[in-house]
Amino acid sequence: MSVLVYAESPMGKFKKAAYEALSYGKKVAEALQTDCFALVLGNADNAADLGLFGAQKVIQIKNAALESFDAAVYAAAISEAVKSIGADTVVLSHSSTGKAIAGRIAVRLGAGLVSGVNSLPTSVQPFSVQKSVFSGKAIAEYSFETSIRVISLLGNAFPPQKTGAPAPVETMEVVLPASKVKVLETKRVEGTVPLPEAEIVVSAGRGMKDPSNWGMIEEMAKILGATTACSRPVADAHWRPHHEHVGQTGLAIRPNLYIAIGISGAIQHLAGVNNSKVIVVINKDPEAPFFKAADYGVVGDLFEIVPKLNEALKQFKASAH
C-alpha cells in the first residue's frame, strides 16, 4: 500500500503539472496514512528535487524504449513500477500524456479510473473523488470498487507545495514491450506558457473589430505574464492562430484569472472557460451574457478601457510587486 505519482518530465524537465501531482499525491498519502513515491520515466534533471514536493523516494526507470512517447510502453513501465512497489493509488497529470496512458494502466492493473479529478478525495474509505462535469455546471463524485485506483489530476486545480527535502533516487529495471510508434518529430512553441498551463489568460473576441487591433491585448498579456486566447469566430476568420481558440470546440482551460475582452459569452465559449477561478469581462453591452458568469465586469468601449487598464497594470507592476 502506497501512493505512486508519475512525474512527467517532457524534454528531461519537470513542469508545474508534475509538482502539482506530487503535492496532491503527498496529501492523499497522508490521508491514507501511507508513503508517497515519485516515478520518473527516462531522463530528468534534478529528480531528487521531487522530494521537496513530498516524495519520500524517487524511482527512475531508464530504458531506450522511453526516449520517445508511446502510450503502450509508458503504461507498461508505470504498471510494472506499481506492481513492484505494491502501490494501490496511482496519480497522473491530466495532460496529453496522462490522458493517453491512464486507461491503459487501469486495464493492466485491473484498476478503476477517474480522470480529471480536481480536489482531494472526499473520503478514503471508500476512496471517493470529485471532478467537474457538464462544462462546470455540476460536480460528479465517484467511489472506487477496486483495490487499485488510478486518478489523473486536472491542471491548475491543486497548488504545488514545497514541504520536504531532496529525496533519494533509485533506479529500477523493467522489461518493456517494443514500441510500435515511431516518433518523427516533436515541436513545442518556445517562450510562452501553453494555454492549458497558463495561470492568467487574456482573451479577446469579435468586439476587437480587426486583427490589427491586437497589439493592446498582447501588451496586457506581456505586462501580466499571461497567455493570449480568443473566441472561435476570431480563429475561424484567421485573425488569430487556431491554437488560441477556447471553448466547447477548442481548448478547455481553468486559469486563475481569465480576462474576456469583446467576447459576448455564448454558452459554447463559456463551456471552455467557466472553470476559471476569477473572470473579468469587458464589454460595451451591459446585457452581454458573459456578465452572468463574471466576477468583475466593466461596461464600456474596449478601445478606451483596455489602454487605461494596461496603464494601471503597468503602474501596479512597477510599484514593487
Binding site: I101, G116, E145, E185, V280
Partner: protein
C-alpha cells in the same frame, strides 16, 4: 481498410443540467441529445475520407439504449456504411470499452477511431482503455492523419505543440479539431441511411470498477461586481487585494 468509429451521445451544450435517483443520474427528460462533436465532425469524417481514398468499410458503434438510434442514423446519413449498437446503459468507460473491444475482436478492422473526449464528462478514457484491451498502439488528440498503404502518419496535439509519429498495422486514434471538416448530411444520405444495417447486439457483463456517489450542482456565481470604466486602478486593486490573482 475497414474502420470502426465509436460514437457517443451527449446533451446539447444549452441543455438543462438536473439529476434524479437521489442525485446519482442525469435527468434526461426533455433533453435534446446530439452526437458528440469530436465523433461526428472529426472521427467519422476522417474515416470516410480514408474510405473514399482507398476503399474499405466504415462501421459506427455505440454502446447505449434504443433511444440512441436517432444519433446512429445520423452517422449513417453522414456516410457510414453500417452500424452496431450494443444494447446497454453505458455505465462506465471500462464497461463501454469492453463492449467495443468484444465487437472489434470479432472482425478485422485496420483502425478504431474515437473522439478525443465527450463534451459532457470530458473523460478521455475510452480510447486509452480500448487500445490496451486490443493491445494496439494508441494515438490521442490526433489533428492530422495521412495513410499510405498500411502506414499511418499522425500528428497529435501536445501541451503547447505537436508531435508527429508513424505507425504500421492496426491502431486506435482519438480525434481532435483539425483532423477533418464537418459534413452536413444531405437528402440522399438521409434517405439511404434508412436502408443501411443497424445491428443490435447484447452486452457482456463487466465487473463494476467505479460507482457514482452523487452529482452536486454547485451554487452559481454570486453577483458580478461592476467596476467604473473610468477607474481601472480600482479593478487592479480588486484583482490584487480581493481576488488575489495578480
Amino acid at each position: 481498410m475497414d474502420i470502426l468509429v465509436c460514437i457517443s451521445k451527449t446533451p446539447d451544450t444549452t441543455a438543462k443540467i438536473a439529476f434524479t435517483s437521489g442525485n446519482t443520474k442525469y435527468n434526461e427528460e426533455g433533453v435534446q441529445f446530439i452526437m458528440n462533436p469530436y465523433d461526428e465532425w472529426y472521427a467519422l469524417v476522417k474515416a470516410l475520407e480514408i474510405k473514399e481514398a482507398q476503399g474499405g468499410n466504415v462501421v459506427i458503434i455505440n454502446v447505449g439504449p434504443s433511444e440512441n438510434d436517432t444519433i446512429i442514423r445520423k452517422g449513417l446519413a453522414i456516410g457510414a456504411d453500417e452500424a452496431v449498437r450494443v444494447d446497454a446503459d453505458p455505465k462506465d468507460p471500462m464497461f463501454v470499452a469492453q463492449q467495443i473491444a468484444n465487437y472489434a475482436k470479432s472482425k478485422s478492422f485496420g483502425a478504431i477511431f474515437l473522439g478525443k473526449e465527450t463534451i459532457d464528462f470530458n473523460g478521455s478514457e475510452v480510447g486509452s482503455i480500448l487500445s490496451e484491451m486490443m493491445d494496439w498502439p494508441f494515438v490521442s488528440y490526433a489533428s492530422a492523419l495521412e495513410m499510405s498503404g498500411d502506414t499511418a502518419k499522425i500528428t497529435r496535439d501536445i501541451e503547447g505543440g505537436i508531435e508527429v509519429c508513424e505507425i504500421q498495422g492496426p491502431f486506435v486514434l482519438s480525434a481532435a479539431k483539425g483532423l477533418a471538416e464537418q459534413r452536413i448530411p444531405n437528402m440522399r444520405g438521409i434517405m439511404t441511411a434508412k436502408t443501411k444495417s443497424l445491428e443490435v447486439l447484447p452486452a457482456s457483463n463487466v465487473a463494476e470498477t467505479i460507482k457514482v456517489v452523487q452529482f452536486i450542482v454547485p451554487p452559481g456565481k454570486t453577483h458580478v461586481k461592476m467596476v467604473n470604466p473610468e477607474d481601472m486602478n480600482e479593478l487592479v486593486r480588486l484583482l490584487h487585494e480581493e481576488a488575489k490573482v495578480i
